[in-house]
Subunit: 127 residues, 2 copies
DNA sequence: CGATACGAATTACATTCGTAATCCTTGGGA
DNA sequence: TCCCAAGGATTACGAATGTAATTCGTATCG
């Protein structure tokens, strides 16, 4: 059986975010970092456990506590989600997605600058 | 109360796809068009009904049958899904998403051309 | 004219997800 | 030494979702 990257839910991804931001962390720290969500401490511990079950995070014993760290990387997750959107919504083709963004999304100056840099980078890479 | 565009599930979107492809259609035609999914006819009718409940499709009486047609457009749906990905996964910014694609997805020449056209269009719009 | 078949409407049911509450263990303080 | 509180593990529970089965109404065929 091959290990496919774990798929995580929306709520779970918010927990991952705090670990991607900094790790390892104790559950107490994670709870603190998620104070703004309004989630109950119990809820966050549940999410942590589900992530453990999915092997999206690892827990290293630290005395009577655990230190949690991500196993699934943010990049892996972004890839999964992007590919999912691409396949589900745009028939797997990038161009329609780009066309969609160009027609419907408001791009900030920063976005535009980054896009320009992106294209330049691609140009250079293709020499 | 303002009408927000209905949010549809993954299975439902596959039904929408056949209506976006061509409409109006009878349920029989829709079932036929979804033969490759392996879904039971009952399943497809259930999805149609849920879409009706969400006002994502309309049913126009045609004798003792209905002719179904989409109320939610493919473009609207693509926008919703794109924005959702953007917000959930890329902090709401387009450039990181595109940067991600450029790093991890194979961009065809056509894709790159579109990207360039996108920037050019923006440039012109901003005069 | 009565039974049937087909589409529509309603109901069903297991799983996943969001959101906790409850139970279990054990290190530390009274 | 004994009890408690903080964390971890387990259980709960309603809503949404995937996937149907059951029931209902009626046009049609024998």
């Amino acid at each position: 059986m091959t290990e496919s990257p774990p798929s995580i839910t929306d709520a779970e991804s918010q927990v991952m975010t705090v670990l991607w931001d900094q790790a390892p962390r104790s559950s107490e720290e994670i709870v603190a970092a998620l104070a703004d969500t309004g989630w109950h401490e119990k809820t966050i511990r549940t999410l942590l456990n589900r992530l453990l079950g999915k092997r999206a995070v690892a827990a290293d014993r630290d005395g009577r506590r655990y230190q949690y760290r991500p196993l699934l990387s943010r990049e892996q997750w972004q890839s999964q989600e992007s590919r999912s959107l691409l396949d589900r919504v745009f028939g797997g083709r990038v161009a329609p997605l780009l066309a969609h963004f160009s027609r419907h999304e408001k791009l900030s100056d920063k976005d535009i600058a980054e896009l320009r840099a992106l294209i330049d980078a691609i140009d250079r890479k293709e020499h």
